[in-house]
Symmetry: C2
Subunit: 437 residues, 2 copies
């Protein structure tokens, strides 16, 4: 019998980030539309982004290189927890009585329990290199804020987090973790920014959203040249950093002797799913794997991929970012208070939006009850309590495995188990008590 856990030695840790834009240009002859400046409506100039980001990150954001070398110092930290395992979900397969093989890339094995730390380390490093002292950021469920707090601590940067108020109230433990790493954590909307004050005046009970928290974090970074802004998803450089996930998974699938028929990941801003899928998708783009399917999964209550427009929109609520060409529900959309806080974002990564709209990838949406039910089955068979965000991917993987059974086909399904849910148990409780609608 094949191994259950497929482990890679440290020497197989990726040395480069993989840039999908190189492949899109080379094989499709086209690229996602560039960010534009809201005042001039012209493509933004790299130097106009320097108020937010260090130069090295801006360079990555617009790069058309095939791959970008990972700095030694960043790789040394990755080695603390990477390569992460790839696991064959044998017990889940047996439970579903499916001919499908179900694999998952286990990003719950990182030091913070999910994939966010992969880009946090890189971003903290590049900022430190250019003399930045403080990083501001937003966080939804708290995973990203935690990751940046850890990475900031590693590189001696102060981290200021704006945490969506509904999550701040629902998940007090997340705040404590960030404080262990000496981060400053503010509920958003907060009284710390002009934008937050304005919103609280209109509605003191504003539950917040990722879009609002981004606006607040941006406002702080604009006020001080030693403070830069750090984003946990959406942008090209974040997806780029997450390609280490897919590169490892690809090597591990080779060791398993299989190539996936279907890739699956959950989508908030799009980085975990894209970083996981891109190293495989370049095979499809190059014409080597034309039948490869790739499914991004979102909540029905925040359906930018399945029901959004594809147009230029702001990345934040206040309209302080460049305009991004993306799948969006509108930058003033405030998603319902679902437990998958990391998926409560109005827009989608420009790269992933482009892939979806080009027919390279596809999308699916599920309601809360169905994803917690899937996550419970996964827990009871594989022993792992997933984050509510990840539960969306699990639901799609289970559905595809059931479909494979009905069709009598041995499909190879691979999903990104992007994170654990030990700090998100209230959602499970509501599910178990029948309180979810």
């Amino acid at each position: 019998m094949k191994n259950t856990q497929i482990l890679l030695p440290e020497r197989d840790l990726p040395t480069h980030y993989v840039n999908i834009n190189y492949y899109l240009k080379k094989y499709l002859g086209k690229l996602p539309d560039p960010p534009i400046h809201p005042a001039t409506m012209k493509p933004i100039k790299p130097e106009e982004l320097e108020v937010f980001f260090p130069k090295a990150i801006i360079k990555q954001e617009i790069s058309l290189e095939e791959k970008i070398e990972i700095p030694d110092e960043v790789r040394e930290i990755y080695k603390m927890y990477r390569p992460t395992p790839l696991i064959r979900a044998k017990r889940l397969e047996k439970y579903l009585d499916t001919p499908a093989h179900i694999y998952f890339k286990y990003e719950g094995a990182t030091i913070t329990g999910n994939h966010k730390i992969n880009t946090a380390i890189a971003q903290a490093y590049y900022n430190k290199q250019e003399g930045v002292k403080r990083l501001t950021t937003e966080t939804g469920a708290g995973q990203w804020g935690t990751a940046l707090s850890v990475a900031g601590k590693f590189f001696g940067l102060k981290v200021i987090v704006f945490m969506v108020r509904v999550s701040y109230d629902q998940k007090p433990y997340r705040k404590i973790i960030m404080q262990i790493f000496n981060a400053e954590v503010n509920p958003s909307p907060s009284t710390k920014t002009d934008f937050g004050q304005k919103l609280l005046k209109q509605n003191p009970d504003n539950p917040g959203s990722l879009g609002i928290a981004i606006s607040e974090a941006l406002e702080i970074s604009l006020k001080d040249k030693n403070t830069k802004y750090s984003l946990g998803s959406v942008l090209n450089h974040v997806l780029l950093h997450q390609t280490i996930v897919g590169q490892e998974a690809k090597k591990q699938m080779e060791l398993a002797g299989e190539y996936p028929d279907i890739l699956i990941g959950c989508v908030g801003g799009g980085s975990n799913y894209s970083g996981f899928a891109i190293p495989f998708l370049i095979d499809k783009i190059a014409g080597l794997k034309p039948k490869l399917r790739s499914i991004g999964v979102e909540p029905k209550s925040c359906p930018k991929m399945t029901k959004g427009d594809y147009r230029y929109d702001f990345g934040d609520t206040a309209g302080k970012t460049p305009l991004l060409k993306m799948e969006t529900l509108g930058h003033d959309f405030i998603p319902p208070k679902i437990h998958a806080g990391g998926l409560r974002y109005h827009g989608n990564a420009p790269i992933l939006s482009f892939l979806n709209r080009s027919g390279i990838t596809e999308a699916k949406a599920y309601d809360q009850n169905s994803i917690f039910q899937a996550a419970s089955i996964f827990a009871q068979t594989e022993g792992l309590v997933s984050a509510p965000e990840t539960a969306h991917a699990i639901k799609a993987a289970i559905d595809e495995a059931i479909k494979a059974k009905k069709e009598g086909k041995k499909k190879i399904i691979l999903f990104n188990m992007s994170g654990l849910g030990y700090l998100d148990l209230k959602g499970y409780d509501d599910f178990l008590q029948g309180r979810l609608i």
Copy 2:
């Protein structure tokens, strides 16, 4: 530079549990005193334990075999998460500026985030083999209850947990996890047993203790022949199962090209530390590593090793267990409400008590503030938020590394990172807010 994570392939997963009693008899010519029956004061007969445990487990409890084969079905489940990594704590070494090499065996990488699942799987398997339908158990901080709930679910056994009331109230999330795996969770003392009712009548605010919870779990198992009792530490068979941790660590240290000078683990009932240390300690017992030091670490507020007696005592509060020869604070000792709930137990494993009293191992005690401070340093350097129990081991490891620096000696320190603390963050919060005494 040597690898940071030292991984073992699946084929190196141990095939046997290692029995220290074989080595004690062979090399020292003596064994820990046997359990005795409180009525007759004579050594308990194996069949007298059958009301609590399946025969296979009783056989292991009294075994003098050198090693006991791990059943295939148990190994298949171990393969879902084992071998766990061994990690060189390079960033912690650098922070401490110590010549010592600090390694930790990372049991936080198991499916439940700590070592408890290792014995839970074995115990559930042996019970299932003998037709048992239900398992009752106690849990302190909730780690053991969670592990048995998962293992019970894997083998189709109903699990009934008595959770120490102070932890039940402090850690509501733990209850939810157990419920995801369909376990029944009762705060202890509970109204479900005669003993619980009696205690609640005397004091409705009784905070509970592991000793009380064990009494309640035992009472339930005594009332129904299809219900057996399962213990998460203390007994020989539990320590035996945990030797897979030390066996892996030993192979991994070989790969690292070093042999530890000092082993360190935290002690509640003694199983994580013993299972981790035994595969090394047999080298000391056999005279191969006479200078090997091994330190068990306990809270100052529950100091059975450093201040307890070594005598026969009950394992539970009500006095329903056989009498065990052990280091004890007395079976009616109710420890203060410290955050390290898993260390709030009055007694110590008979094997570990024997090793301590024979001078093979040593013991140390720390207060709450110092262990949370150590855990914060560990988090900030290695990125991992440890359980408060594990923090005791971390504190001792840091102290030994500082001592090595003062003495200018390159010591090889290896500790068992027995578990993560994502569900125990209130302790960190109290520490950060200066509320700990």
